[in-house]
């Protein structure tokens, strides 16, 4: 059931990310729903599920976007990994922690991704636009990640993938 829940979450997130318009005053950034799903699996589930979520989510993002295929899976893995490594040190089931993780890691994702796209010539963004996008993404990540964590946690509990909120850490 974990994989069914993951597939549902990823598809819904991809649809939402595609349909939600970019936020102009935050540097025209898109809502990072797919990355938030990956971060949910990084913070609250075992590492194996993180790897699959990062690969599937990243591939979905690249296939529906204009970036090179394989670009997002690698970056999703790169930002999901520290979150997964740190989860035993912090209370990942609380909304503020999810917001902090979401904000920092989404910002890092956009910084590194923007640099990659600029170096490979895939996108031309000014330094100010690049930093603006990173800050805007960080703000949206702080909103998206707790929302996704709450929704995905409820779905996982509904499907019996995790028993109670207290047991989330025990789902290794």
């Amino acid at each position: 059931m974990t994989w069914i829940a993951m597939a549902l979450l990823l598809l819904a997130a991809a649809l939402a990310q595609s349909l939600f318009p970019p936020v102009a005053w935050l540097g025209h950034v898109k809502w990072p729903w797919l990355l938030s799903v990956t971060l949910y699996y990084a913070m609250r589930r075992e590492r194996k599920t993180l790897l699959v979520a990062a690969m599937a989510g990243g591939l979905l993002q690249d296939a529906l976007c204009h970036s090179p295929l394989g670009f997002s899976p690698l970056l999703f893995l790169a930002v999901g990994w520290p979150a997964s490594a740190c989860k035993s040190l912090v209370m990942t089931e609380t909304a503020p922690t999810a917001a902090a993780f979401g904000s920092i890691l989404t910002g890092v994702f956009v910084l590194v991704g923007g640099l990659w796209l600029h170096v490979t010539g895939a996108a031309s963004v000014s330094a100010a636009g690049w930093l603006g996008k990173a800050l805007g993404s960080a703000l949206l990540g702080a909103v998206c990640t707790p929302s996704i964590c709450s929704a995905a946690g409820s779905l996982d509990m509904l499907l019996g993938n995790i028993k109670r909120k207290d047991d989330i850490h025990g789902a290794y």
Binding site: A14, L15, Q17, S18, L19, P21, P22, V23, A24, W25, G27, H28, V29, K30, L34, R47, K48, L51, V52, A54, M55, G58, L59, L60, Q61, D62, A63, L64, C65, H66, S67, P68, L69, G70, F71, P73, L74, L77, G113, G114, L117, T120, G121, A122, A123, S124, V125, S126, G129, G132, K133
Partner: protein, 308 residues
């Protein structure tokens, strides 16, 4: 040990994906877009109907008045259309009598905008709900009633640019405000030629622009230094690039200044089309290129189609 193998396998998969042959990666993208297209269109339609229903509930009386006004306008438009049909017939007969060929070599396909900005927001793009199945191909002009909006995906990404795809049921469009968009244009009454390129999105804008990107003025380069270009001059496509038809309105000059070398002018252009609220656009589809070429070759000077 097993976990390490899984991790290595996944990283290797990502690296393989990054190095997929271009045709395979374009096929994957097209398949993803085709499968997502019904969901995109469905949800977009649902949102639009919801917004319409909410507006009707909120302001029903005004909508009823609006409907009456539109009915009246429709009746007037139909009467005008009937007049135009008669004029068209007359025009055709006269052209036949004079041996002229048909002017327009294009048809327009109306498409709904289902998504904006892609998934990452790095490019100024749109996604339309129609694709190859409706006759749309690569590098076709996309317009609104006011002017040029962009062009459809160019197949293989050039210079590492965005991988824009035209699939069976969806089309990616690069907007004129994207820095990667370039189109040959002519400007002013003198018909000076230049190249218009997008200046990127403006971050600051009115709050209602959140929905869509602010259309920043774009730049026009390589205008001859002796040219007389004034604010408000109209800019239209020249058709010299061979991709975008000639005569499509692009925008109006906001200001023109000499470039650093002093040899050329650089003009800031205000887009003719309102790019902030795009719901529907038209794709300009050339009608049988061979026939169009013949028509142009045979038509007397000054008889070439200027607008689709």
């Amino acid at each position: 040990m097993k976990r390490k193998r899984v991790i290595l396998f996944l990283f290797a998969t990502a690296l393989v994906l990054l190095n997929l042959p271009l045709p395979l990666s374009m096929w994957l993208r097209a398949a993803a877009r085709d499968n997502a297209a019904p969901f995109h269109s469905g949800f977009r339609a649902l949102l639009q109907h919801g917004a319409l229903a909410a507006a009707t509930l909120r302001d029903g009386r005004r909508h009823a008045r609006e409907a009456d006004r539109l009915r009246e306008e429709l009746a007037n438009a139909q009467a005008k259309a009937a007049d135009l049909a008669a004029l068209k017939d007359e025009n055709r007969e006269l052209r036949q009598a004079l041996g002229f060929q048909r002017r327009s070599a294009h048809r327009l396909v109306m498409c709904r905008v289902v998504s904006r900005g892609g998934m990452g927001g790095w490019w100024q793009t749109l996604r339309l709900d129609k694709g190859r199945a409706h006759g749309i191909g690569e590098n076709m002009a996309v317009v609104t009633m006011d002017g040029l909006v962009g062009r459809t995906g160019g197949g293989q990404p050039r210079d590492g640019g965005p991988g824009l795809v035209v699939s069976e049921r969806a089309s990616d469009v690069l907007l004129i405000t994207d820095p990667g968009f370039k189109v040959a244009c002519e400007i002013g009454e003198g018909g000076y030629f230049g190249i218009v390129s997008g200046a990127g999105p403006a971050v600051r804008g009115r709050p209602e622009l959140d929905m869509l990107s602010e259309a920043a003025p774009f730049d026009m380069d390589f205008i001859p230094g002796g040219a007389v270009v004034k604010a408000g001059d109209r800019v239209v496509t020249s058709g010299l690039g061979g991709v975008i038809p000639s005569g499509l309105p692009v925008g109006f000059v906001r200001e023109a200044t000499a470039d650093k070398s002093g040899l050329y002018l650089r003009a800031a252009i205000r887009p003719a089309a309102d790019l902030r609220r795009l719901r529907h656009v038209f794709v300009v589809i050339p009608l049988e290129p061979a026939t169009a070429r013949e028509n142009r070759a045979e038509a007397p000077p000054g008889d070439e189609g200027r607008t689709p």
